[in-house]
Symmetry: D4
Subunit: 249 residues, 8 copies
């Protein structure tokens, strides 16, 4: 609630510059206008530290190009997620500074690299080989937003000594992203070993009662370790962005 | 298909002792009668090595007593599962040789202990303290059916070194029963360490998306380790019986 | 158990006040203590910065007292979650330094308050009045682990100006916990306004297709804002612990 | 129940013009015949104010053409929903006055535009760009049934000030259709700001636990705002028709 | 709080009877009042035409009384939904003008009856006798918000002539609320007969695959009639409020 | 109400003993009688061969008595299903001819037994002892509607020779009702042996992934035998009524 | 294989034209024939009155041809369900007497038409046009098994007078098959009008919360009419076979 | 926990060879290092008796070839599951000793056949013809791991005499794998007849409420026979591996 606005309005009524009728109408809209006012002079990249990210799925190459052009006029970096190679090719013809990663299915447009501003390293770990594309999306997002990222792949719980051979990375990290499908048990084991926050990313890898990733998701939400945060299935981007948010706040 | 039966019937037709009409009628029922014949002289405890087990839930104390009396006339041991303390008290008044375990909610009626006939030890492990009642049901079942059972409780994956301190038990066992709720990750870790079959028992311990044990169940079915067999949620009895079946075949 | 304890033990060995044999025995117990129904993970406070937290549901008062006594011998603070008032009364008779919060259904045992070691403020926000118990569990956990916590209740999206009047708290926080049931829309709105990580806690408040909190949970996992971490339904403790982990790493 | 019909029948029995047997038979069918009678001389467009709409999915182009020809003989306007571009091309060859919208995947056959008969404006709002096709289906339906429609796209809750900049449209509308996928939070926010009915349309936009739109649907049904009506996932047509029904009654 | 109150306050400022400072303070409370466990949205009755409704479930009698006192200071009418008889008795001791309906489980506090301002009649129909409590909640809500309501109970599709005998009510209504459990088929039949909007309310009446009302809900959302709006399971209040919103806009 | 009643009424009109006006009024009530909380469908026994059956759940004893009185004025038999012993006692005080079966939780009101009109025997079979209450409901319903019923209990597939010893009953039956919980496999086996229709009734007997009967239900719907009809979980009444419908058409 | 074949074989044995050994061998094949990938159940047409039906989905054209050849050696009629046009073409090259229906996706192989042996007419009704393929499968199955079938399509509840104009068919039928997708309401309405058994077939027609037919299925199982039998989603074959079983027993 | 390691460390501290600071650091890592140490000199094929199996789905041919080359350097046999014919062709070009089974979609790389080391025969049984591919995967896995395997296909419960004709195989087996889709009833029947463990494999064969195999899975988990172990849907590999584990321990 904007006290100053309110005081001025009432002053105007008191000294007759504003009619009661007009003031009454303004006050009915009070809740809305306050919010409006608060955000008119704030840009998203000021508010959130990073420009809007484009969700590529369900948008045409033309729509994406249009949005990118508007953002590019004001920003240094743009991310487009879940975008097919074919669409990416069309986009690459329109922009320089564009890199497409076909595992992560992601476009990174970057006039120049952002400085590394995070408090420490973000570690990205996968349980299996098939989880790598999702992990790559997390890596690229965290890097593009200005973080140092290190990754280790295929260290799932069925041969748990593979994980333990990377313990120095676990200890060094400020945030750990753990990507796993099937039963999704790895985040619990990792989180049981460290003090820092662990972001668990369920993947749709598996079949039968993996239920497209729901089983891994539910397992992670039920983790008996308590420093575990969970994001949506296959949401490598969200995990990378959240890790950046933790590492940079 | 009983060839001998068939030959005799046709002989009877050939030599006129059986009319075509009667033989025709008999042959229509062939599939049923064959099965009938095969099992008439086989008792369940001969066929399966153990008498029928009584599922206590949804039966009155009177019904259970009635069934027990009939079985007790021919057998050395009877198990009743999922039975309340109150019903158990009524039953104890009718039989000697009855023990009631109030954690496992199980009655063991035993004229004399069965000899230990299994090939080795059955290990029973739980992830948490709250999983103990289900584990107890498994222990009692496996013991009553003539097996040596050893158990370790509360060694879940959030502090995984607790499990490794019991490595010798894992290596000694012919079958391992792992009981776990919440994310149900322990069976994968255990099965990744051993060669013997691991029976995973999901429990309904947990809240929210533990979904009454479905999450643990699905996680176990998706185990990235391959020597894992799964039974129904909270089915300690089934796990104990299956372990016995494996250990004694 | 903590670093200080460890240093003193080793000093005693170094200067001969403690025999190697006795120290060895102590250190075995350091990692874990087996009291039949529980394997207490004493190593945890070294590894994770906070001792094991006791999940009260499904444990008897006697079991909880037994575990608390073992932990209390080595630690300054113990948390017991999801514990009924009745069990809490039995426990209070056995320990001084015990506080029970009947909204959060939580015991905090604290020999002395932990120093505030977090990097900033943790904000806890609820959408409705009925979400307060879960929020309280988060507040108490975050405070007990050494953080400054501020809370605002009942500022859900159906009257969104209520939220905006607390804008300065949103901007001040290093981590924001948002607790909401029903459609679970508040975390998206909050996360859209800030840069710091937002921990979304779905609650089981609602009826019909709130599905015991699943709808709020799924909504939060699908948030169109990207700095959102999700925990299990009604898991105030987990949110508080995760926030502490973020704020203190 | 048609009293007049009943009186005449009984009169006929009383004066012998109708046998008891025949009257008995007629009365057995009374419940049905009454209904039959009531509707035999009522056409759908008289009863409902608009002719039958053709659901294109699962019908061949030939079937659709056949149905359209019968309706076109008596009506000014025909809508065909969920129809592919390919089928639409076949249909266009058979009729003049046919417009196909390939975003909405809809055919509008219109001999002449219906007069605008609604009480006010219908507003159509989407949370994201990917929700536009469903919104278009709603717009076209509401317009074809004789309403003034205004639309605003991509004003979701993650940047909520975008919505507030359109507040005059919100205040002007007699009915607001809000189309949203993912967490489906926008209808709650909109409905919290206005007095008029809000029709929430969940879309299948999203992935993972968006569950093909179920999460958005359930969120909308749990809205903490009370002036919210919900329709099936991706049912832009139904929303447009319902809005027309509200606006024109 | 209403337009009249606002006009008087501004008049007082305009003619100097009220200081700007005092008016400013009053207007801040106009938007919202914070009583620790609730943020009361006084602005709502300006914005939405009706004061905040109290969801009784999960709130103590003391909390409800506290909230009611704050609202009652400014409003003519208050509704409390989903409230037990026991809590209602405590509340009745604190307020006059309170009526409790034990079928609808609802409190209506009304200093004086609101004038009937709707455009026409709201009809409320149930499929069975067991659906009546939900229907009553809808009736009371629609009446309390200033509408004429007529109701017919137990006219489900298994004896469909029962419905047709109430044809004139169907034709007279501006909005029809249809309450049904089990297979939830009645709204489709009703909506097929009329032009006005039909609000379908699924109930949790039934067993087995009624799934607590989900089957009725999904059936209604799939209605082959298009003028059907759906609300949450057992949400009689929402249906009544939505009907009022339609009837009064 | 039945054909005989109708014939007599019309005879009275034909021979002048009854006025047209009075007969008209009687016939309006014939179709339906409105007692505020219920629309009694008197026409049903003409249309369907059996009067309306009262679903007891969610109705008060008073409501049931009211409905029974109206039906009893015109019919020979009334069934009330899903009714507690306590309510049944209240009802027994108001009517003679009432029998309450406390396993089936059903009231049978019968002035005189209906003649046996079915084409043959209806067999009712259960897989287990716990399925008997549902089976009893089916038996009583089929008997009350005028059929010869024979039953065999506890012949489930885990000891399949038990079933085969009853093969003469299987062959004699015109319809077989098979009641089973847990995995619901018995109907497939039975239907594979016979030619007549098999009505499968899933029960909620079981735990864990029996999912309250959903697993048995889905198994029955997927039966690899083709002469299987399925009804709702625990719906013994429906199975009995459907069997009667098959046997008596 | 049928009774006639059996009688002739036994006659030959009785009068010495066939040796006991040869007849024995023939009769072993009578019960079952093993062709590596299938155990053909020749005994079925004796036991069940109709030979084994081949489920075409997931079998190669070669496998189907192999099975058909074995059956054709002994039977007059063979049905193959869920078979693509492409496979059907391969099969047609191998057999005369084969008809393929591309709506029903079914092969009917028939040396000569079976005599009509049912007690009456089987009616097949659909709610919509898109439900016709499933209805066709039911029609063809019921006809091929020796029944008179009449059908009416597109008479769903949104224009319920369309149904009533076919009331003579409803009254004539011994069994009615009702095929409906979306909300699946039609079977309840039909069953409420007639005395004979109604077989409800849910279809996967619809979108969103039609959930691939689950909503229609659940609605039908919850029908407030009691003479309703339900089969699996899209299971036209099962409905036709069940109807035949009812009509011919 | 490695006692020897601990003693040596403390000895080093006691005699000054190790500083307190360094020892303190080592002890913090104690839990991890112990595990590390335990497995550093253990290879998977030593620990589990069989080298790592490659899950082919979601891996490129190149990735699989890379992994195979590393394993082949040390092992006699490699299995690759869920691999398409196309990828298999690329792999065959790189290795001799490779066999691809296109029903099982599996590669068996075998320098020389493993000796048969199991205690007895493993039987593999299917309910239908469409279940054969999954069964083949089980057969090949169990054979490749050194077991004698016998199989019988298409003996489901709808013609149960087919099963009984293979009674001697059932009695001979040490482990029985039963593969079934649709209602999944066969494992219960088989397990009711034998004493040895039965591994139930649900398949995704079926439609409608077979729910992609969930119904068969849940049915098997609810089996009323107790010697039943269940694996994931279509998991023939897991069943074969588990059977080997049982047969070879």
């Amino acid at each position: 609630m904007n006290q100053e606005f309110l005081r001025q309005l009432l002053d105007s009524v008191a000294n007759g510059r504003l009619s009661v009728q007009k003031a009454q109408q303004d006050l009915v809209h009070l809740a809305m206008e306050d919010i409006d006012y608060a955000h008119i002079d704030h840009h998203r990249s000021l508010r959130k530290g990073f420009p809007e990210v484009i969700f590529g799925e369900g948008k045409s190459a033309e729509q994406i190009i249009g949005i990118m052009k508007k953002i590019a006029a004001q920003e240094e970096v743009i991310l487009v997620t879940r975008i097919s190679e074919q669409k990416a090719l069309s986009i690459k013809k329109q922009f320089s500074h564009v890199h497409y990663d076909n595992q992560a299915r992601m476009i990174i447009y970057q006039k120049s690299a952002l400085p590394k501003t995070g408090r420490g390293t973000i570690a990205v770990i996968t349980a299996g080989t098939s989880d790598i594309p999702v992990a790559k999306e997390a890596c690229l997002t965290a890097e593009a937003t200005g973080n140092v990222v290190k990754s280790v792949f295929d260290v799932g719980v069925a041969g748990i000594h593979r994980l333990f051979s990377h313990k120095s990375l676990l200890e060094e990290a400020k945030v750990i992203i753990v990507v796993a499908g099937m039963e999704g048990a790895l985040p619990s084991v990792v989180a049981g070993l460290v003090r820092c926050p662990v972001i668990a990313v369920p993947t749709s890898v598996g079949y039968g009662v993996s239920l497209g990733g729901l089983t891994a998701l539910f397992g992670m939400l039920n983790s008996c370790a308590s420093n575990v945060a969970v994001v949506n299935i296959d949401n490598g981007f969200g995990a990378g962005f959240l890790a950046a948010s933790i590492n940079q706040t």
